[in-house]
Every structure is written in structure tokens, then in C-alpha cells.
Amino acid sequence: MELTVEQIAEGVRRANHAMVDLEQALNAADAKLGDGDTGSMLVRVIGGMAAAAPKTATSVSEAFGKLARAGMSATGSSLGTLFAGAMLLLAKQTKDRSVDWADLSALVGAARDGMMARGGAKLGDKTVLDMMDALAAALEGKTDAAQAGKAGVDAAERTLEAYRDRPCKMGRAKFFSEKSVGLDDPGMLAFAGLVRALATAK
């Protein structure tokens, strides 16, 4: 099945809607070892993406480009910039071609690799990259939105669970590595919440 501009716009709408409930939980998770602003930052980023009207794009690439530029105006935080940078990479990867749901695994993998090169984190550092890695694997062979949604939510929850008791090795939390054991990484928690929102019609 083809991945459409309408589906991307609907995904942004769902994510923006979900942030209403996620904001305070993410701020609280971030306040444990950080500044306590991850939720509010993502509200600005995703709100900006929704306001950029991805629905009006004439191609999937243009839609991702709109999301990237909106993210880049909304924040300078590392997580937000990585998110916007991933959108920019997706825009480049999908330029001048149609995109199928079956391509999504490879696209998420490319975004993961781009974010890794950009931000310097490695797999296993307990960051959003570990979520993307799990998502890329879970999406393999999935050919429509329903299959991808179910596999994505399973993978996100499994990965969050698997990393909870491991130490964080990236970002500010790396200075308090042992204290991060038992805590969800705020970026991973946000990723899980957003994947759940994307997969659920509301």
C-alpha cells in the first residue's frame, strides 16, 4: 500500500492531539535527571508541525520537508533538533518517488543512521535511537498502516521495558548514569507515546 501525504498529515494530527496528555508526564520524567522540559518542548515542535499544514504538500517528500522546517524553527534542544533532522533526512530519501508502507522499515533505518551520525549516540546508549532501531526491525515486511501500527506499538513497548533497568550513556543523564537505572529515558518514553498515538485512530 502506498504511504500518502494524507496519512502523514493524519499522523501529525494524532501526535499533536496526544501531546495534550503526554506533556506533563514527559516533563515529570525529564525532571528526574534533566531540566523537566521534554514534554513542553515537544508540544512546541509537534504543534509547529501541525501548523505547517503538511496536508497541503504535493508529495511525501515535501510533507516531510515541511515538518523538518517547522521543527527547526520551534526548538534548538538536542532531541527536538534530532527529530527535525530525521524529518529532513526522510524528505531527502523520498525525493521524486512514491513511497510504500513496505519501504518504511528501510526509511526508519536510514533516519536512525542519520541521527546516529548527527548526534553521536550509539545503539545501546538508552536513547530514542534504540527505539528507532527496534521500530525499523519490527516494520520489516509490513505492507500497510494496520500491520505497521501494531508491530510498531509492540516494539516500542518491548524496547522501553527492556531498557528501563539499564544505565543511560548519552545526554545530560549520562552524568548520572547509575541514577538512570530504573527510570525511562524521556526521549524513549515520548517515542513510545507518539508511536501509540500514530497507531490509534481518535
Binding site: A31, M72, S73, G76, S77, S78, G119
Partner: protein
């Protein structure tokens, strides 16, 4: 920790409003007002020097926009990188047709934003180079200098790159001199009490009533040790010993920056400098242009940093060249 402010959401923009009202040589620019540039138009034919970083460190970063220093500076929220838009705008506004040196501290977020900004501008044909401040010796060993963070010593690189650009040096030369200034600068900090982000309920870290932290970073990043408070002379001795061990002197002259982190009285900085000066003299080093004051702060953090800038003839000439910004005047 009390703060005299209005809405935390307006903290940065209201500070920039006041800064530019007080200093007409600086102007806000960019779509969100998050670029500070020189009030006069960009000089054609001059290499542009662009910096940027999070707020909460004034005079760093944007306070060093001025003659013989920076051309433009992108500004992020408190302790947060400047967004891609402001970095792109800062680069465009500094473009005098001879290329741009991006000169800022080695932090992941700042790097990402400046790198993406550079990629987005590739089509516009603006040539950019990058030099990162890596002077904080507590944030990585001598064998992993590329991991070190940039702190107060960055202003020496501003000064040298700015002087070279003002004198008409081309981009490769300005870049070489900025990198050389970074390579010859070492800094170490000591923290006495934490700071609090305007939007946060609690300080970003805690230090006991009678505790100090050697090697603390300018966002409260953990340092080398925490122990009980000791006399200033003992702290000065350890700081100078660590700095000289990390970069043994190759010449006979150094500049010294004894920098307050925000809430330390000038008296305490001079007490510290007096001993630093003695230790350097004992090591056979002559102090050129000592700088004592609040040059790079961490809001209301209590403490100080000591930077040594090892000079040769070339760097000394650039350091002593005329420069003028609201917080630093030379010549």
C-alpha cells in the same frame, strides 16, 4: 534561589531587549529576534565570525558581538542550543562574501544545529568553516580533547579570530588562527553553589553547604571531585597545577582569565588571581593582559574558572589588537 524576572517564557527575549536598549552597538535580528548582530551593516570583503549558544551565560555569547570580535550570534533558550533557523540567519547576516567561520563551544546540541544550518545553506554558496571551543580540561583527558567542552576560554578564540578577520585575513587563515587559539587555551572551573533554570522548580544540581566541586562545567556538569571548602590559595594552586600539567608552557607569556560564574564577588576573584599570578611567576611565566571579572557565567552559579592562554608572538599580537564590544574593550 530567587529570581528577579517576569514570565520564565519571556526570560531570554526580555533580557535581549534590555541588552540592545542599553547597547545600541548591538541589534536583534532574525525572524524570531534570536540573532544579535552589529548595528552597522556587514562589511563586504571581510570574513564573518559567527557564534551561538544557549542563554544563561552573559556576556557569552552574544555580548561579544563587536568590532574585532564577533559579527553575529544565534541565541537559544537558557542552556539550550540555538535553533537551526537562528543559526542560518546568523550565518547569512554575517556574510560579507569572503566566507564564514562558525566558532562556538563543543556541545552536541549546538553542533547539530550549526551543522544542519550549514547543510541547508549549501545551495546559497556561503563557504563555512568550523572551530569548536574545547578548553575545559575537566571534561576529557588530554588524549580525547575532541570530547572536551568549550567554556570561558572561548573568548580568546573570539579575540584572535576577530582580530585576524578585521585585519583582512582570508577564511583559511582566520580558521587556522582560531584553531590555534583554542589549542593554546586551557580552563578549569570550581563550583561553590548551583544555579536554577528560570522555568525549573529546583536547582539543576546540589552542593552541600560546606562543599565545593573542582572541574564543574558551565551547566553544572559534574567535575573531578567534591570535597569540603578550602582556602582560596589551595584552590588556586590546584587549578594552576592542573592547567600547566595539561599544557606545559612552550613560551614565557600567558594571558589569564579569572572568571566569575555569576554570583561570586569580584573581591573573591581578585583573591584568587593574586595567588594564580604568584604560581605562574614561580613557573617562570609572565602574565599579559589579565582579565578578572564575569566574562562567561552560569546564571547565579557561585564559583570561578581560571583560563590560561599560552602566547607566542602571533597570538599576542592578535590578543592586543583593538577590539570593542559592550563587555570587553582592548586598545
Amino acid at each position: 534561589m530567587k529570581k528577579l524576572m517576569n514570565d520564565p517564557a519571556h526570560y531570554v527575549d526580555e533580557a535581549l531587549d534590555g541588552l540592545t536598549l542599553a547597547h545600541p552597538s548591538l541589534m536583534r535580528d532574525g525572524s524570531a529576534g534570536r540573532v544579535i548582530r552589529r548595528a552597522e551593516a556587514t562589511r563586504k570583503g571581510k570574513v564573518g565570525i559567527v557564534s551561538g549558544g544557549g542563554s544563561g551565560h552573559l556576556p557569552l555569547f552574544c555580548g561579544y558581538v563587536g568590532q574585532g570580535l564577533l559579527d553575529t550570534c544565534s541565541i537559544g533558550n537558557v542552556f539550550e542550543g540555538p535553533n537551526v533557523d537562528s543559526c542560518m540567519e546568523a550565518i547569512r547576516l554575517a556574510d560579507g562574501g569572503q566566507g564564514i567561520l562558525r566558532l562556538y563551544g563543543n556541545y552536541g546540541g549546538d553542533r547539530m544545529n550549526f551543522d544542519i544550518a550549514g547543510e541547508m545553506l549549501e545551495d546559497e554558496g556561503i563557504r563555512c568553516t568550523t572551530v569548536l571551543g574545547t578548553d575545559d580540561i575537566a571534561s576529557g583527558g588530554p588524549d580525547e580533547i575532541e570530547r572536551r567542552r568549550g567554556v570561558a576560554g572561548l573568548i580568546y578564540a573570539y579575540k584572535c579570530a576577530g582580530a585576524a578577520a578585521e585585519a583582512g585575513a582570508h577564511l583559511e587563515e582566520v580558521t587556522r588562527l582560531a584553531a590555534k587559539a583554542v589549542a593554546m587555551t586551557r580552563t578549569i572551573g570550581v563550583g561553590l553553589a548551583a544555579c536554577r533554570l528560570p522555568s525549573a522548580a529546583r536547582p539543576s544540581f546540589e552542593l552541600g553547604e560546606n562543599e565545593i566541586e573542582m572541574g564543574i562545567g558551565i551547566h553544572g556538569e559534574p567535575g573531578i571531585w567534591r570535597d569540603t571548602l578550602r582556602p582560596s590559595d589551595a584552590v588556586a594552586d590546584e587549578m594552576v597545577e592542573r592547567l600547566l600539567a595539561d599544557l606545559p608552557p612552550s613560551g614565557a607569556e600567558v594571558s589569564v582569565l579569572v572568571n566569575g560564574l555569576g554570583a561570586t564577588p569580584l573581591e573573591e576573584l581578585f583573591i584568587l588571581f593574586r595567588r594564580v599570578h604568584k604560581k605562574l611567576a614561580e613557573a617562570g611565566l609572565r602574565v599579559v593582559m589579565p582579565l578578572i571579572g564575569n566574562y562567561v557565567t552560569s546564571m547565579e552559579m557561585q564559583g570561578a574558572s581560571v583560563s590560561l592562554f599560552h602566547l607566542d608572538e602571533e597570538l599576542k599580537r592578535l590578543l592586543l589588537a583593538p577590539a570593542e564590544c559592550p563587555f570587553w574593550r582592548v586598545g
